[in-house]
């Protein structure tokens, strides 16, 4: 079984590099959308790595954990994205109110 052990190491190293690059993007991302995208991608890769852990440790319970983790990651992504979108809406509403006030003053 040493060959399969080497393949497991290679697989975990590749997925770990993916997570490491996402973490770098999370640390240096210029806007909050890139940070959100990096967090979402890290969650997806963690789901895949939990599935790999289920295979390596021969434990069927990790698959339930992977499914639940995917569900919670999806909810987190949608909530944060809607929050950022709503923030844009309120900023734009304030901007429109300011322009309406300025146009009212001009009239």
């Amino acid at each position: 079984m040493s060959g399969s052990l080497v393949i497991d190491w290679i697989v975990f190293i590749f997925a770990g590099f993916g997570i490491f690059f996402s973490l770098l993007r999370f640390l240096k991302g210029p806007s909050s959308f890139e940070r959100l995208a990096a967090v979402d991608m890290m969650n997806v890769m963690f789901t895949g790595i939990i599935v790999l852990l289920a295979f390596v440790s021969k434990n069927n319970m990790y698959m339930d954990i992977a499914i639940l983790y995917g569900l919670l990651a999806f909810i987190e992504t949608v909530v944060f994205a809607r929050y950022l979108e709503g923030r844009a809406k309120t900023i734009e509403k304030k901007h429109m109110q300011n322009t309406e006030m300025k146009s009212g003053e001009a009239k």
Partner: protein, 122 residues
């Protein structure tokens, strides 16, 4: 060397190939997220590559160990339902906030949405 055909060897070969392909796509997704110039291309590479990576990792684990196959197929169905929605929501919030595109971008196919105040979009 024993070269006779066995289902066990075929199954392990296909499973490990799928797992390796999935982890390689995870690597490519991270690289695309790190190196792409703006938020739209970053979301495009990372979302599609990680979706394919999760598909092939779950399917490979299910093929390698048949007791995982039911939950692996359940996970694949769940991922196929939720990951495109999550990517679409993130992209929509970035586009509504007028996130800057890279300078190679030549066309904005839905240019009316970000600037137009009418319709069902807002």
């Amino acid at each position: 060397m024993n070269l006779e055909f066995s289902w066990q060897l075929l199954r392990e070969t296909i499973g490990y190939l799928l797992i390796g392909l999935g982890s390689f796509f995870y690597f490519l997704a991270g690289l695309g997220l790190l190196r792409m110039p703006d938020i739209y291309t970053k979301l495009q590479t990372s979302t599609k590559a990680t979706t394919l990576g999760t598909f092939s990792i779950a399917l490979g684990v299910g093929i390698l160990d048949f007791s995982f196959l039911g939950k692996a197929i359940l996970l694949i169905a769940f991922v196929a339902l939720t990951h495109p929605v999550a990517g679409s929501v993130m992209l929509r919030s970035a586009y509504k906030n007028k996130a800057p595109a890279c300078k190679e971008t030549t066309i904005d196919e839905c240019g009316g949405i970000a600037n137009d105040n009418g319709g069902d979009v807002r």
